[in-house]
C-alpha cells in the first residue's frame, strides 16, 4: 500500500506542476521577437513558404543534424540488439484481399511520400514525414507479401550516401555561403515554385531517403526476429 501512496504522490506532484499551464501560459496575443523575425525574414531571405521548414532546415539546422544523428544511433542500436536470424514461417499467410490491395497501394504510398518530402518548403510536410510515409508503404508490403526480400545492403548504401550528402551540403554552405547548413547556397528562385528556397528541397530529399531507409531497416529487423 505504501507503494500506491508513492505513485499517487508522484502523479499528484506532476499535476501540481502542470495545472498552471491550463489557464493559458502560451504565446499570448502576439508572436515573440524570435518567431516574428523568422516569419518576416524566411520568405524574403530563404524563399520558403513553410516557416516551420525554414526553422528546421536552416535557422535551427544544427539541431536537425543532431536529430538525424539520434535516429541513426537508435537504428544502429536496434541493429546491434536484434541480429538478423533465419526467417521464420509466417503464422498465417496473408489473405487474397490484403496481398492484392497491398501491391496496388504500395507504389502510390511511396509516390505520396516522395511528394511530401520534395514539397516540404511549400506545404505541410518534409523529410521526416515523407520518410515515415515511405516506411509505412514497406510495412504494408511486408504484411501483404509472404516473403518480401529486403536488400539490407542496398538500404545501408542509400542511408549512408544520403547522410553523407546532407553533411556535404552543410559543409558547402560553410565554404560558399554564410555558414554551416546555410540554404542560400543555391539561388532562392521564384517564390512558391518547386525548385526554390535554395538547398532546402535538396536537404529534405536526403533526409527523406535517410529516414525512410532507416525505418525500413528497423521494421525489417523487428520482422525477421521471431
Amino acid at each position: 500500500m505504501i507503494k500506491r501512496l508513492f505513485v499517487l504522490l508522484a502523479v499528484a506532484g506532476m499535476a501540481v506542476i502542470l495545472i498552471p499551464f491550463v489557464s493559458g501560459n502560451g504565446a499570448g496575443d502576439a508572436l515573440n521577437n524570435v518567431a516574428a523575425t523568422y516569419v518576416e525574414d524566411a520568405p524574403r531571405d530563404l524563399g520558403t513558404m513553410n516557416i516551420v521548414t525554414a526553422v528546421i532546415v536552416t535557422y535551427r539546422g544544427l539541431d536537425t543534424l543532431g536529430e538525424v544523428l539520434v535516429l541513426f544511433i537508435a537504428t544502429a542500436g536496434v541493429g546491434f540488439l536484434l541480429k538478423k536470424r533465419r526467417e521464420g514461417d509466417p503464422v498465417q499467410p496473408p489473405s487474397e484481399i490484403l496481398s492484392t490491395g497491398g501491391m496496388i497501394l504500395m507504389p502510390l504510398i511511396v509516390l505520396f511520400g516522395i511528394y511530401v518530402f520534395s514539397h516540404g518548403h511549400l506545404t505541410p510536410g518534409g523529410g521526416f514525414q515523407g520518410g515515415v510515409i515511405i516506411a509505412t508503404a514497406f510495412l504494408l508490403a511486408m504484411l501483404s507479401a509472404r516473403r518480401l526480400p529486403i536488400y539490407s545492403g542496398l538500404l545501408t548504401w542509400i542511408e549512408s550516401v544520403s547522410g553523407f550528402a546532407y553533411l556535404a551540403v552543410g559543409v558547402l554552405g560553410l565554404v560558399l555561403a554564410g555558414g554551416f547548413l546555410d540554404s542560400r547556397l543555391l539561388p532562392a528562385g521564384r517564390y512558391g515554385s518547386l525548385l526554390s528556397s535554395g538547398t532546402i528541397p535538396l536537404i529534405y530529399t536526403f533526409i527523406g531517403l535517410k529516414v525512410g531507409t532507416e525505418l525500413v531497416s528497423i521494421l525489417d529487423k523487428l520482422r525477421s526476429n521471431q
Binding site: 505513485v7 508522484a10 502523479v11 506532476m14 499535476a15 502542470l18 495545472i19 499551464f21 491550463v22 489557464s23 493559458g24 501560459n25 502560451g26 504565446a27 499570448g28 496575443d29 502576439a30 508572436l31 515573440n32 524570435v34 518567431a35 516574428a36 523568422y38 516569419v39 518576416e40 520568405p43 524574403r44 513558404m49 513553410n50 516557416i51 516551420v52 525554414a54 526553422v55 528546421i56 535551427r60 539541431d63 536537425t64 536529430e67 539520434v70 535516429l71 544511433i73 537508435a74 537504428t75 542500436g77 536496434v78 540488439l81 536484434l82 511549400l122 506545404t123 505541410p124 518534409g126 521526416f128 515515415v132 512558391g192 529516414v211 528497423i218 529487423k221 523487428l222 526476429n225
Partner: protein, 118 residues
C-alpha cells in the same frame, strides 16, 4: 480561461505517468512512455497557439504583408517535429531491448528482473 488542448495534454501526461509507475509488464510500461510523449507534444504545440490565427505557411491566402500578425508561433511546431522523431527512435530502441530481455528469460514481467533491486 481553460485551454482544452493543454488540458488534454496534461491528462495524457498524468495517465502515462500512472501507467508507467503501476504496470508490471514491460510492453505496457513502453506504452505508458508513448502516452507521456504524446501528451508532451500536444502541450508544447498548444503553447504556440494564438487565437484566430492560421498555420505558419505563407501561401496566397495569408500573403506576405503583415504575416507576423496572421500566423501562430512556428518554433513550438518545429520543436515538436524534432521530438516526435526522437520519441519514435527511443521507442524502437526500447522495444528491441524488450525483445532481447524476453529472449533471455522468456518473460516480460518486471518482478522477474530483480537483479538491480535493493
Amino acid at each position: 480561461m481553460i485551454h482544452a488542448v493543454t488540458a488534454t495534454g496534461i491528462i495524457l501526461i498524468l495517465t502515462g505517468l500512472w501507467c508507467m509507475l503501476t504496470r508490471k509488464h514491460i510492453i505496457r510500461i513502453i506504452i505508458g512512455f508513448s502516452i507521456i510523449d504524446t501528451g508532451i507534444h500536444i502541450m508544447i504545440v498548444s503553447t504556440g497557439y494564438i487565437r484566430n490565427r492560421t498555420a505558419p505557411i505563407l501561401d496566397h491566402a495569408v500573403g506576405l504583408q503583415g504575416a507576423a500578425d496572421k500566423v501562430v508561433d512556428p518554433v513550438p511546431s518545429a520543436l515538436v517535429l524534432t521530438a516526435i522523431v526522437i520519441g519514435l527512435a527511443v521507442t524502437a530502441l526500447m522495444l528491441s531491448y524488450a525483445v532481447k530481455l524476453y529472449r533471455r528469460k522468456r518473460t516480460l514481467d518486471i518482478n522477474n528482473y530483480a537483479e538491480l533491486k535493493w
